[in-house]
């Protein structure tokens, strides 16, 4: 079971934050097929948000084909996002660590590294779309 945390200042709508956190957990393998998501009641009792916000997030996840509602029981994961990509995480993490060492040696601080990373990520994904 996972727990949701909402960031007030992120500018991302609360239901989107829930969707992202589930996708994140699926990608990293914290959630697996047949795992249950917290019930709407459990979520609102911990993060104090409108139940409809949680329902909206769960509907979107259903629409994405990641979870399915079993009436009267709860919402369960039916597909993970980790399948083949999780195996690739190890080597990629290793490469990224080495790249980070190089960036630090070049004198970049954490914020510069993050800015550079985001910048390249966005520009390459924009190329991919175009």
């Amino acid at each position: 079971m996972i727990e949701f945390h909402l960031n007030k200042r992120s500018g991302v709508a609360p239901y989107q934050q829930i969707v992202q956190q589930v996708r994140h957990a699926l990608r990293l393998g914290f959630l697996d097929v047949d795992d249950q998501l917290p019930t709407v009641k459990e979520v609102v009792a911990t993060v104090a948000i409108n139940p409809n916000t949680v329902l909206k997030a769960y509907k979107e996840l259903e629409h994405l084909g990641l979870v399915a509602a079993r009436p009267g029981i709860g919402t369960f994961v039916i597909r993970t996002l980790s399948d083949d990509s999780l195996a690739a995480h190890g080597p990629l993490r290793h490469d990224l660590k080495r790249w980070l060492e190089k960036a630090r040696q070049a004198g970049l601080d954490e914020q510069s590294i993050e800015a550079l990373f985001r910048n390249v990520l966005w520009s390459t994904s924009a190329e991919g779309v175009a």
């Binding site: 009641k41 609102v44 009792a45 911990t46 104090a48 409108n50 139940p51 409809n52």
Partner: protein, 296 residues
């Protein structure tokens, strides 16, 4: 779907002063409604008219299809927690539940007992000895245990510290998720309501300035900034809510159902707090008070 609250040109007067005027609303069922406005805007008056503690001086109001406070069955359908979440200081928690059970035909004893246990309240303790947060939770428990279709809460979290505030809203949302009652709660702080509400009513100076589904309100309001524009230059489907100008720049909050096509504007989304503040500023401007230039 029937409206939980339907008001038509509703008004209430104290002496010569109208505390609420020309209030026309139709709030759909199943919502958690945030009633927002500065102190003295008429929020309490509207809630007390809804529960039947006050009678209108103008217009009409229907709650769950009936006239507020006119019959025992109507009273049973509406739960009300007044400002400062009052309880009887000399009575224990157990005596409050006992009173609730005897005064409400649809009292849910199992729920009340379970919730008091979950909150860790000592049933023998006098309500006067409870902390503000515990007292608010006791008042909420009493209002919910009567199983109302509509729950009205007047500034329920205003006097609570941040932790108690959060716990109260957690409890309230749990109840909404479990029992599906409609809720109207008032606050002078939008931040308190942002997460829990899905419908908003902004009340300023005795009048409703805007009401609607929060998602729709956020989608239809934009902040436009650009080179100085004249007011009349906007398309007819765009309504200016607030405007500030410097000699070079204009900054507007507009309500528009379609997209903003004029390329000279840079368009930004508003958050709920900005939206409410824009309507409050609008109200001030409409009343011809000196206008504040906030932006420079």
């Amino acid at each position: 779907m029937t409206a939980v609250l339907e008001a038509s040109r509703l008004g209430k007067r104290y002496g010569h002063k109208w505390a609420l005027s020309e209030c026309t609303l139709a709030i759909p069922a199943g919502k958690v409604v945030g009633l927002v406005g500065p102190n003295g805007a008429g929020k309490t008056t509207l809630l007390e008219l809804s529960v039947g503690l006050l009678r209108p001086d103008a217009g009409s109001i229907a709650v769950l299809g009936g006239q507020p406070g006119t019959s025992a069955s109507q009273l049973a359908r509406v739960g009300f927690v007044a400002q400062e979440t009052p309880t009887y200081a000399g009575m224990s928690t157990r005596e409050h539940l006992w009173l609730g059970a005897r005064m409400n035909p649809s009292w849910d004893e199992a729920f009340a007992e379970a919730r008091i246990a979950q909150l860790g309240l000592d049933p023998r303790q006098k309500a006067g000895k409870l902390s503000g947060g515990q007292r608010a939770q006791l008042a909420l428990t009493l209002a919910v245990a009567k199983r109302p279709e509509l729950l009205l809460l007047d500034e329920p979290v205003a006097s609570l510290d941040p932790l108690a505030r959060r716990e109260f809203l957690q409890g309230l949302m749990e109840v909404v998720a479990e029992h599906g009652a409609s809720v109207i709660l008032s606050s002078h702080l939008v931040a308190d309501l942002e997460r829990v509400c899905d419908y908003l009513v902004v009340l300023v100076d005795s009048r409703v300035r805007v009401a609607g589904d929060i998602d729709e309100l956020l989608a239809s309001h934009h902040r436009l900034t650009g080179p100085r524009h004249d007011r009349d230059g906007l398309p007819s489907d765009q309504q200016v809510i607030s405007a500030s100008h410097t000699d070079k720049q204009s900054s507007l909050v507009v309500r528009a159902d379609g997209p903003i096509l004029d390329p000279s504007w840079s368009v930004e989304q508003l958050d709920l707090e900005d939206l409410v503040l824009a309507y409050m500023a609008h109200a001030v401007e409409a009343d011809r008070r000196p206008k504040l230039e906030v932006r420079s």
